[in-house]
C-alpha cells in the first residue's frame, strides 16, 4: 500500500484545527501522539452501544464487551508477533508495565550480591523502579555508557553483563532518537545468562515490532504514543517467566479462589490484571493497532526516515554552527526524535517563541536526567515527528527557530 501523508492527516481531526487562526504544527509525538477518527469513533461507538463489564457477567452485552476487550488483546499480540495472546497484559501505561516487572520478577530474583544492567540513555521509568528495589534489596545496577555520537558503547558489554541477572534497555532513546540493536542486545543478555527487558515505548509506534525475532523476554510500551488512548499500556512477557512470577497488584479478577487462609492466582493474563481494566481504552488501542496495521509499519518507518533526513539537513543548512543536534547524524540509526541546542537561547524560551507559531515541541530534560547530565545540559528542545508530519512542518520549525534567534539576540 502506498503511503499518502495528506490522506493520513485527514484522519486526525485535531490537525485541521486552527489555533489563534494558525494551523497546528505538532512536533511532540515522542511525548504523546494525536488520535485518528478510527480510534475516537471506536471508543465512542463502544460507549454508546456496547459498554459493559468484561470477564465477569453472563448477559449478552457483557459477553460481547468481553469479546471486544479480548479481541483487542489478540490484535496487539499479532501486531508485535507475540507467540501467545495471553502473554499480552494490559497495564495502566508503560511505566506501570516496567514497575510490574521490577516488583514482580525483580523482587523474586534480585537480592544482595546480584547485579542488573541498564544503559545511560534510559527514561526515568526504566531507572527509578530499579533504584527503588535496589535500595530495598541491595543489588547492584551497572550502566552501559554511550559513544560521543549518542549510540550505546558496547565495547565492554560482555564484562558489564557478566554475572548479571537482567539487562533492561530502551529500544529507541526518547531524547537522542537512537535506535538500539535490539536483537544483538537480547542475544548478549542471554549469552550471559541474563533476561532481556526491552522498553519499546518509543519503538513500537514507529517501526515494525517482532518480539520473537528480537528474542526478548519482556517488552513494554504505551498506547498513547501509538495513536491510541492514554490510560492503557502493554506488558508482553514470556509465558514461562510470567507463570513463575508472583502477582503484582492484588484484588478482583486476578484470583482463582480466596479463602480466609489465603488466595490462589488466576491463569494468565488475569493473574496480572487486578480490578476493572481500562475497557474503553483497550477498545481504542485495538482500533489504533488496526489503523497502524492498515497503513503498514514499514511505511510509517520509511516516512519517518524521510522526515528525519529532511529535518536534520534543513536544521543544519539553515543554522549551521548555531545549532547542536544531539545523537547520530545517520538517519538509519535513529528515529525521527531530534533534540537540539540553539545558540545560547534556553530551550524553554525557544519553545515559547515556537508556541507563538503553534509549533509544539518539548523543552526540558525529557525524564532522562542521567542522559542530560552526560550531554552537559539541563534541558534540550526536542522536535519529534510521526506519520502525520510533513515537510512543511520542518519548514515551520526552522522559520520559528529563526524567529526565536532574532528575538533573543536583539
Amino acid at each position: 500500500m502506498s503511503f499518502d501523508v495528506q490522506k493520513v492527516r485527514a484522519d486526525f481531526p485535531v490537525l485541521a484545527e486552527l489555533i489563534n487562526g494558525k494551523p497546528l504544527v505538532y512536533l511532540d509525538s515522542a511525548n504523546t501522539s494525536q488520535k485518528p477518527n478510527a480510534v475516537i469513533d471506536a471508543m465512542t461507538q463502544f460507549m454508546q452501544h456496547g459498554y459493559a463489564p468484561t470477564n465477569r457477567s453472563a448477559y449478552q452485552l457483557a459477553a460481547e464487551a468481553t469479546d471486544k476487550f479480548e479481541g483487542a488483546r489478540a490484535k496487539v499480540a499479532a501486531f508485535i508477533n507475540a507467540p501467545k495472546v495471553h502473554e499480552v497484559l494490559y497495564t495502566k501505561n508503560a511505566t506501570e508495565a516496567l514497575n510490574l516487572i521490577v516488583r514482580s520478577w525483580g523482587s523474586a530474583n534480585l537480592s544482595v550480591g546480584d547485579a542488573m544492567v541498564l544503559t545511560h540513555m534510559e527514561h526515568h521509568a526504566n531507572i527509578v523502579p530499579w533504584q527503588m528495589l535496589a535500595a530495598e534489596r541491595g543489588f547492584t545496577i551497572r550502566w552501559v555508557p554511550l559513544t560521543s555520537d549518542g549510540l550505546l558503547d558496547l565495547s565492554n558489554l560482555s564484562t558489564l553483563l557478566d554475572g548479571a541477572k537482567a539487562f533492561s534497555f530502551t529500544a529507541m532513546s526518547n531524547v537522542l532518537g537512537t535506535i538500539n540493536p535490539i536483537t544483538e542486545l537480547c542475544a548478549a543478555a542471554h549469552k550471559a545468562g541474563a533476561i532481556a527487558i526491552v522498553d519499546a515505548c518509543q519503538a513500537v509506534p514507529h517501526m515494525p515490532t517482532d518480539v520473537q525475532a528480537w528474542d526478548a523476554d519482556f517488552v513494554t510500551f504505551s498506547s498513547h504514543k501509538m495513536v491510541g488512548p492514554s490510560g492503557i499500556g502493554i506488558l508482553w512477557g514470556r509465558e514461562s517467566l510470567l507463570d513463575a512470577m508472583p502477582p503484582f497488584l492484588g484484588g478482583g479478577n486476578m484470583i482463582s479462589d480466596v479463602k480466609l487462609e489465603g488466595f490462589t492466582c488466576a491463569e494468565l493474563p488475569a493473574k496480572f490484571e487486578a480490578g476493572t481494566q481500562p475497557i474503553i481504552e483497550a477498545i481504542g488501542l485495538g482500533a489504533a493497532v488496526d489503523y497502524l496495521s492498515a497503513i503498514g509499519m514499514d511505511n510509517v518507518r520509511a516516512h519517518e526516515y524521510d522526515m528525519t533526513v529532511l529535518a536534520l539537513n534543513s536544521l543544519n543548512d539553515r543554522f549551521g554552527s548555531d545549532i547542536t543536534i544531539h545523537g547520530s547524524t545517520d538517519a538509519a540509526l535513529r528515529g525521527a526524535t531530534i533534540s537540539f541546542a540553539y545558540r545560547d537561547v534556553h530551550p524553554h524560551d525557544i519553545s515559547q517563541v515556537l508556541d507563538q507559531n503553534n509549533v509544539c515541541v518539548r523543552a526540558g530534560h525529557h525524564c532522562a536526567k542521567p542522559l542530560m547530565r552526560l550531554l552537559g545540559s539541563n534541558a534540550t528542545v526536542r522536535a519529534s515527528f510521526y506519520l502525520y508530519n510533513t515537510p512543511s512542518d520542518v519548514t515551520a520549525l526552522c522559520d520559528a527557530l529563526s524567529e526565536a534567534g532574532d528575538f533573543f539576540t536583539l
Binding site: 530551550p347 524553554h348 507563538q356 530534560h365 542530560m372 539541563n378 534541558a379 528575538f407 533573543f408
Partner: protein, 147 residues
Amino acid sequence: MPGLEDLYREIILDHYKSPRNRGSLEPPAVRSEGHNPLCGDEIEVFLVVKDGIVDDIKIGGQGCSISQSSASMMSAAVKGKPVEQARALIHRFKHMMSIDEGGEEPDTSAPLGDLEALQGVVKFPVRIKCAVLSWNTLAEALDIAAE
C-alpha cells in the same frame, strides 16, 4: 492571545543577559537549592543575614530567561533589606503570580521597580513556575538562616 512582548519585556532580557549578584558565597553564608522538575531549571541562593538584614546574596544555577531574570531582580530587590521586608516581598511577588498562600493581602503601596516587568508572566501560566522558583528558594534560605 498575549504576545511575546508581554512576556519578554526589555528589562527581563537585560537581567537575563547581565544577571545581578551572580556567583556564590562560602559558609557561614547559607545555601539553598531549587529545581523546576518540569523544565530542569536550577537556582542556588547563597545568603548572609546579619542583624536581621540581608547583608549579602548571590545567585547560582541555570535556566530559562524568566527563571534567571526573576532571580536576578529578586537579589537586587532584597539585598540590604530587613529580613521581614524580604519575606513580605516574597509574599507579594507570589501573589502577583496569582499564587494564593492564604494570609493577608500583601501591601502593594511601595513601587515594585524592575519586578513590575514580570507581571506579564501571569498570562503564560506554564511559566509561573519559572518566575517563582528563585523566590521559593530564597524563602528556604531565609528559613535556614533563621535556624
